[in-house]
Symmetry: D2
């Protein structure tokens, strides 16, 4: 049994990671850090938690000696975090995702260090300090990575549920703004675009939109390619327990990936232009955050890759 | 004062047209047709309607001698409709929109007749029998028409509210399917793609999605073009009371077009690829249906183009 | 033509009041106050506003000499506001609503002054300083006031849309909390309960809930009464242009009051217990806020009671 | 290992039951009936299902010899169903819920037979033919049963998500009707009112409302009682793994019961009237349908009461 500590347990990604750790057959919770709730029992965060553990400070969680540390904080705290020697650290924030020095400076005011980027199906992490991909970037990369070499660029129109933007209060997270709306943001200049390019190897025109749903990302990608995509994608995802390639005509649905750690992909060709269209759906808190974090931890700790993940079930 | 008749008053587009006719300074309601409610007072449809009129059959409405007939039925009934001599007819269904014989046969099993397509800002109708554009096609065409000549194709990622799909009951209109979802449909082969191409002059890779909102269309378009779009769009929409071109950086919002007959456009350039991104928002029942129908009627009847339209106000 | 000034134009109630003033046949906008936007043109708040006016500070708006001042601020600023001599002031905040000294102290830490409460259909204001009722209290009072004298108490189960809680950012206004939820709050102890009792004359067990909708209040009221309610309610609301009493069996719908200043009431008797059930629907920003504020202003200024109100139309 | 058959696997309750059976440690799926999909593999219903089973007709599923049959059909098919000798049958439809002859005739045109009503925490089933309670009735009964003997009647204001109304297409299930709405229905005369009374022993004034959410029921109950509810409820639900009584001040949240088979209850006293307020939340497809069906099956088959139920986790 390996041990886990969580830094920032009370945010959306922290709570979802806590949920997976508590149900994980190979991980036991050593320390749940929350500066807000330190010293208080688990039930203060959520009445579904009994009082079998007490929150500690984030510093205490970092120093707990856990085999894996899940860093579930905002960007600033993650940038300031000092990884303890010997631990696997999975950073769910954005700051360590860009490996190019110029881009890391431009988007996160940071010099990339010893971190590697871990998207297991495409670019598994290469060391113990692992930058966990963002939800838009994960979903777009899963849709496009098999097309590497076939095209020089793609359009990525991505839509995410509100938990994808964190528990922080912002005017754009106010329900009065979100309901009956679909709002594009950071049009043409989002820092997820270089993250996608870094993973798939070609540039994308990327527009993220906020959906009036709680959970789930749908990404619709368009590109030129002279190839039959299906055999390529089948081969790329052969044997994956996480990515489900739909049969001919199948359209990914949020309801089938919500509350799971799976991804669903559909392949199409446009009648009028001949362009390829690939649609991918994930749960922004599952494969787009905590699920992928646990998957990365499993790989780094030598556990079964999908242990503790939510990949079964056929809930409506 | 000109007179109006409505065929199919009880559907979404029929009721919205009725609403605009009742508030129109230059139109008076001569006949409200509804085979379901014929012989019953207006209040049977909606308690906000007093009993100042009684529904007639659709045939009676067609024969009422009105100056303009709004045809607010499904495709089948519209295809079978025989326009009375001398009347202006605005068809809000899809069947008369494709002017090319092959396409009209392929998508609607119909031979195009004497109908013309009326999108006033781009291709005003040229006769009294007017096919009113669809909501996706209107929104995409407004976003792309000024770019004609600059590009050879575009990606059109379009998202519409649920009233855009009509009051008919379908599995995909069930709220249990729609809520917490964003569903793509007819991927790569929607009949709105040729309608858009017919209006703007170049092909588009078009994917429509159903949003969990009641009203409103957001269309995000991507294309290659070596030009500064702003002066072109400013010139194209100069003087328009319907289309609002947002200043640099402005992102269209559904809340500002919902319950109106206006459109809102924002212009962007993508950092990574240099592609142009144009976002357009409309209300699928306003500029995307009944509002544009009244605008077409105004032009055909020699009334002020925007009489009776909802273009004012600053509601949150 | 009377003149109007708005204090706090950029909040939800401020913008809705601005919208009604700009379209009002008997009011002209003298000063739009906003400390955030002072010195900037109207379009900075919303691109639908042209630059025909420039925001001033709230102090400047207060000192503008307008015939009526709409106070659209939070509770603290409203409590500190010094009404200029001679002006009609409509306070849309909560602080001046409770006229009983003990209650005003308990809920708002305030000594009631010269303000009167203005709910035109039930208790019209009696002076120039007018406390505008809250959305829950308006909706409940419209449902229950005609039953005064018939019962000793009622249950009021009220549900409001998210714009009813203001543009302020709170954990409970985060869309990740609101979507797929219906959250009760302040159960059994909300300050709107005494406001309702003050208006209708008997106590209520009141539970407010937040709905995942943008606009609209639905209040379901239950009480014992040995009387046929219909003739009493018909008589109470005879001639009202604002309150629409539905015929037997009619159930109020949000869609028919959203974006309007009207209210809709349905009357029922419970089979099993014989209790009376009255359901009332309003728009929390219309009759529940800005619409009623303008109605109060019209009465205080001697204008037609419903001038500038949104009471027509049959939009879906 | 006991065996299970499902009649009507493709509806909401059928699919949720299938989901629980497939993950159940003590049940194996013997036959999945669906007249629509008979002869086709599981994946035709949902791509998450592999092809390890093939749908059979409902008649074949009924005759499969399974230890337990889950009847997941509409009311008509359930009324016509002939239970095979020796099997446990759990009927998730409404037809067998009312045990009084007059009420069964009035609401379902049926003579009650050998069926018993199974709400395990309150009135466990007494035979092998078990009527599974409705979602409104379950949630209300859990909120009110411990108060039996304390009061003579209650107000039950209940709100359910859209999957609570089944996959059948109705005007009131159209997303264009549901979104931005909260609609009361069957006001004062719903057949769930006698079902609640049958379970708790006193009458209720019951109004159901449709929420614009996918899953979840929130029921707010009001009644007079001279007693401290907390010790009574604590005692009533002591040891329950399904019902979670919240501590003082705790308000039930849909997010904590959605996608689970648990219930959450909060207790309050109203300041103004002294009335008791009890709020209960469940998932309409969990404790309100398939979860309770499996709980009933477990009890009838001598399995652990909560085997296969979803009662863990702390997902946001």
């Amino acid at each position: 049994m390996k041990t886990a500590a969580i830094i920032g347990s009370a945010g959306y990604t922290g709570q979802e990671t806590l949920d997976r750790v508590l149900g994980h057959p190979g991980l036991s919770l050593l320390a749940a850090g929350s500066n807000t709730f330190a010293g208080q029992p688990g039930s203060v965060l959520d009445p579904r938690l009994d009082d079998s553990f007490t929150f500690v400070t984030n510093d205490e969680a970092a120093a707990s000696g856990a085999d894996v540390i899940f860093l579930c904080t905002g960007n600033e705290a993650a940038a300031a975090f000092q990884p303890p020697a010997g631990a696997v650290v999975i950073d769910l924030s954005g700051v360590h995702r860009l490996l190019d020095q110029t881009l890391a400076q431009r988007y996160y005011k940071l010099t990339p260090g010893a971190w590697s980027y871990g998207l297991p199906e495409i670019s598994p992490a290469t060391g113990p300090l692992i930058a966990n991909p963002g939800c838009h970037a994960t979903t777009a990369a899963l849709a496009l990575a098999p097309a590497r070499g076939l095209t020089s660029k793609a359009v990525v129109d991505s839509k995410t549920g509100m938990t994808g933007a964190g528990r922080e209060l912002k005017p754009t997270s106010h329900a009065g703004f979100v309901l009956e709306n679909l709002s594009a943001y950071a049009v043409g200049s989002h820092r997820h675009a270089p993250e996608i390019e870094q993973t798939i190897g070609f540039p994308v025109a990327f527009v993220p939109h906020l959906l009036p749903v709680r959970r789930g990302v749908i990404t619709t990608c368009y590109f030129e390619a002279d190839a039959d995509l299906r055999p390529l994608y089948e081969s790329f995802y052969a044997g994956s327990k996480v990515v489900r390639l739909l049969p001919e005509g199948g359209i990914p649905e949020l309801s089938r990936v919500q509350n799971t750690d799976a991804a669903e992909i559909g392949l199409f060709t446009d009648d009028a232009t001949g362009m390829k269209i690939v649609i991918c759906a994930t749960d922004n808190l599952g494969k787009g955050a905590a699920g992928q974090a646990v998957q990365n931890a499993n790989l780094a700790l030598g556990l079964d890759e999908t242990a503790g993940l939510r990949l079964k079930g056929v809930s409506v």
